[in-house]
C-alpha cells in the first residue's frame, strides 16, 4: 500500500515537475505567475491527439501502448504549444509589459487567457473524453505489491531525459547563460547586450513546450479532457514555489514532493482532501522559508 502510493507519487510527480519548470521560468524570467499555464498544457495534449488521429500513434513497441510515431506527436505538441505561448505573449503580455503594467495585472490577464484557451479547446475538440489509445495497459508488478504501467516507466524516463537536456542547455549554451542573466536582472542583462525580447520569446517557447509534454504524458497515462490542465494548476504552482522559483532541480523535486504528498495523504486523511495537499505543503514550506526550499531570498 505505502509502496504503491510512493510509486504513484513519483509517477504523477514527474508530470507535475514538467509543468512546474514552465511556471518556474515564467516566475523568474517573465516575472509573473501564469495562471494560463495549465491550459497551454491542455492545448499541447490535444494537439498531439489531432496528430495521432490524422496520422497514427504507431504500432505499439513491446509492452508500451504506442509506437515511435508518438514521439513525433509529442514533438508537434511541443511546437504547437510553444508557438501558441509566443503568440499569446505577442498579443497580450507584451503589450502589458510595454505599458509597464504591474506584474499582478499580468496575472490577471493570464486568468482571462486561461478561460479563452480552455473554451477554445472545448469548442474545437468537444467536451468528451479522449484517449491516445483505447488499449488498456495492465500494470506490471515491479516490486512486491508495487505495480506500474509500462507507459509510466517510459514517461518517467522521458521526463528525466528532458530535464537533463534542459539543464545542459541552461548551463552550457549562450542562450542558457543569457537566460540566467535575465533571471538575475533584466536591466543589467539588457545593458550587457542580451536581446531581452528574443529571450522572452525563448522562455515562453520552452515553458509552452514543456507544458505540452506534461500534457501528452498526462493524456497518455490517464486521459484527455478540456479541464485537465486547469485542474492540475494548483499542484504545478505548489511544485514550482516549493522548489524555489527559478531553480530547475528545485522544480523537479517540488513536483515529486507534491506528487508524493497527494498520494500518501489518502493513507491518513479522507481522499476528498487530496487536492488541498499540495497547497498545505506549500503553506508549510513558505512559512519556514518564504522563498521556497531551493530558492534564494529576493529583494522586492
Amino acid at each position: 500500500m505505502i509502496g504503491q502510493a510512493i510509486a504513484d507519487g513519483i509517477l504523477t510527480g514527474a508530470i507535475i515537475a514538467l509543468g512546474a519548470i514552465g511556471i518556474s521560468l515564467s516566475l523568474q524570467i517573465l516575472r509573473f505567475a501564469n495562471f494560463g499555464h495549465g491550459d497551454i498544457l491542455t492545448l499541447g495534449a490535444y494537439s498531439a491527439l489531432t496528430f495521432t488521429a490524422v496520422a497514427t500513434a504507431g504500432v505499439p513497441i513491446g509492452p508500451v501502448s504506442f509506437g515511435w510515431q508518438f514521439l513525433v506527436a509529442i514533438l508537434i505538441a511541443a511546437i504547437v504549444a510553444g508557438s501558441a505561448a509566443i503568440l499569446i505573449d505577442a498579443i497580450v503580455y507584451n503589450r502589458l509589459r510595454s505599458r509597464n503594467a504591474h506584474r499582478l495585472t499580468m496575472i490577471f490577464a493570464s486568468f482571462g487567457v486561461a478561460l479563452v484557451l480552455r473554451n477554445l479547446v472545448l469548442l474545437i475538440w468537444g467536451p468528451d473524453v479522449h484517449y491516445y489509445s483505447r488499449e488498456l495497459q495492465i500494470a506490471v508488478e515491479i516490486l512486491p505489491n508495487v505495480r506500474v504501467m509500462p507507459d509510466q516507466i517510459v514517461v518517467l524516463g522521458l521526463t528525466f531525459a528532458v530535464v537533463i537536456f534542459f539543464y545542459l542547455v541552461l548551463r552550457l549554451t549562450r542562450i542558457g547563460m543569457a537566460m540566467r542573466a535575465m533571471a538575475e536582472s533584466p536591466t543589467l542583462a539588457g545593458i550587457c547586450g542580451v536581446e531581452i525580447r528574443k529571450m522572452i520569446r525563448i522562455a515562453w517557447f520552452i515553458a509552452g513546450a514543456l507544458a505540452a509534454m506534461a500534457g501528452t504524458f498526462l493524456g497518455l497515462t490517464v486521459q484527455l479532457r478540456p479541464e485537465m490542465g486547469f485542474n492540475l494548476l494548483l499542484a504545478v504552482f505548489a511544485a514550482a514555489i516549493l522548489g524555489g522559483s527559478g531553480s530547475l532541480f528545485g522544480a523537479v523535486i517540488g513536483g515529486l514532493l507534491v506528487g508524493l504528498a497527494e498520494n500518501l495523504s489518502v493513507l491518513v486523511v479522507p481522499a476528498g482532501y487530496k487536492t488541498a495537499m499540495p497547497f498545505l505543503l506549500l503553506m508549510l514550506v513558505l512559512y519556514i522559508r518564504p522563498y521556497g526550499l531551493f530558492g534564494t531570498p529576493e529583494r522586492h
Binding site: 516566475l27 509573473f32 505567475a33 495562471f35 497580450v92 503589450r95 502589458l96 505599458r99 503594467a101 504591474h102 506584474r103 499582478l104 495585472t105 496575472i107 490577471f108 490577464a109 486568468f111 482571462g112 487567457v113 486561461a114 478561460l115 479563452v116 480552455r118 473554451n119 477554445l120 472545448l122 469548442l123 468537444g126 467536451p127 494548483l234 504552482f237 505548489a238 514555489i241 479522507p270 476528498g272 482532501y273 487536492t275 488541498a276 499540495p278 497547497f279 498545505l280 506549500l282 503553506m283 513558505l286 512559512y287 518564504p290 529576493e298 522586492h300
Partner: protein, 314 residues
C-alpha cells in the same frame, strides 16, 4: 411587464451582492495592491457562517443555531475577519504573486472543507432552509424580492459610504502610498505589512457580508456555489469597472453580470439547438476576451481611479 420588473429586481439584487464583494476586493486590490485570488473563500465562509447561525436546528448537522438574521450577518462578517486574519498573518509577507497563489489555494481548500465536513456544512448536499429575513410579512414573491433588494441596496450604500470615508482618511492615504511605493511608505515610518493586513481583513469582511446576503437571498448554499470561477467573475467586474474607484466596482458588477447573463440569453435565442454547446463555449471565450481587451486597451477600467486629495489641502 411585471415579469420583466420581477426579473430586474432579482437581477439587480444579484448585481448588488456581487457589487459588495467587488467593493471589498477593491479595498484590497484597488486601494492597497494586495492580490487576493481567493475571493470566493471569504464569500463562502460568510455564506456558510450565516447559514449555520440562522438555519433552524437539524438533527443531521452539529451546529444549526436558528438565531436571528442580524446575528447571522454579523457572525458571517466576524468569521470572514477571523479567517482573513489567519490567512493574512501567514501570507501578507509573501511577494505579490506568491500571495496570489496562496489565496488561490486557500479558496480550493475552503471549498473542499465545505464539501467534506459533512456534519457541519451538509457536505455535497448543501444547506437548505436558510431563512429569509422577515419573509413572513410579505405575501407575494415580488413584493418580498423588492424588499430584499431594498435591504441589499441599503447594505451597498452603507459599505460604499464607509469605504469612501475610509479611503479619504489618513489611513486610506497610507494604503495608496504603500500600493504606489512601498519602500517610500516604509521610509516614512509606516508598517506596510500591518496596513496591508488591515486592508486584507477589512476587505474580506465585506466579501463575507456579500456571502451572507447571497445565502439568505437564495435560501440555499452548496459547495458548488463557490468554485474558482466566482473569483474570476468578481475580479473581472472590478477590472472592467475600474479598480481604485468604488463607483467603478459597482458599475463593473452591473456590466459583467449583465453580459454574463445576457450572453446566455443571446446564445439561447440566436443559435440553432445543435450549436448550443458551442455557443456556450463561445460565451465563455467572449468573457475572457473582454477581460484581456480591457486590461490591454483600457487598463484603468470604465471609470478609473480619481485623484483623491485630502480635504485639508488647499
Amino acid at each position: 411587464m411585471i415579469g420583466i420588473v420581477s426579473y430586474l429586481v432579482f437581477f439587480l439584487t444579484v448585481v448588488l451582492i456581487f457589487g459588495i464583494a467587488c467593493l471589498g476586493l477593491n479595498l484590497q486590490w484597488g486601494f492597497t495592491g494586495v492580490f487576493n485570488a481567493g475571493v470566493v473563500a471569504f464569500y463562502a465562509i460568510g455564506a456558510y457562517t450565516h447559514a449555520i447561525i440562522t438555519a433552524p436546528p437539524n438533527p443531521l448537522l452539529i451546529a444549526n443555531l436558528g438565531l436571528p438574521w442580524p446575528v447571522g450577518v454579523l457572525g458571517a462578517m466576524a468569521a470572514a475577519a477571523l479567517a482573513a486574519l489567519i490567512v493574512g498573518i501567514a501570507t501578507v509577507r509573501l511577494r505579490g504573486d506568491y500571495l496570489a497563489i496562496a489565496t488561490f489555494g486557500i479558496a480550493v481548500t475552503v471549498q473542499l472543507i465545505t464539501l467534506n465536513w459533512q456534519s457541519l456544512t451538509g457536505g455535497s448536499l448543501g444547506f437548505t432552509s436558510i431563512p429569509r429575513p422577515l419573509a413572513g410579512y410579505f405575501d407575494g414573491q415580488l413584493s418580498y424580492n423588492i424588499f430584499f433588494l431594498g435591504l441589499v441596496a441599503a447594505a451597498t450604500v452603507l459599505v460604499y459610504w464607509a469605504l469612501e470615508r475610509v479611503v479619504r482618511s489618513p489611513w486610506g492615504r497610507v494604503l495608496r502610498a504603500i500600493r504606489e511605493d512601498e519602500t517610500a511608505a516604509v521610509a516614512l515610518g509606516k508598517d506596510a505589512r500591518l496596513f496591508r493586513l488591515q486592508a486584507f481583513v477589512l476587505g474580506s469582511v465585506i466579501i463575507g457580508l456579500a456571502g451572507a446576503l447571497h445565502a439568505s437571498f437564495i435560501g440555499f448554499v452548496s459547495p458548488f456555489d463557490f468554485l474558482p470561477i466566482l473569483t474570476f467573475q468578481i475580479w473581472t467586474m472590478l477590472i472592467v469597472g475600474g479598480s481604485g474607484n468604488n463607483r467603478g466596482a459597482l458599475l463593473g458588477a452591473l456590466i459583467v453580470w449583465g453580459l454574463w447573463s445576457g450572453s446566455g440569453v443571446l446564445v439561447s435565442k440566436v443559435l440553432p439547438p445543435e450549436f448550443q454547446t458551442q455557443g456556450a463555449a463561445a460565451q465563455s471565450i467572449l468573457i475572457g476576451l473582454l477581460l484581456v481587451v480591457m486590461l490591454v486597451f483600457k487598463p484603468r477600467g470604465l471609470i478609473g481611479e480619481e485623484p483623491v486629495v485630502s480635504r485639508h489641502v488647499g
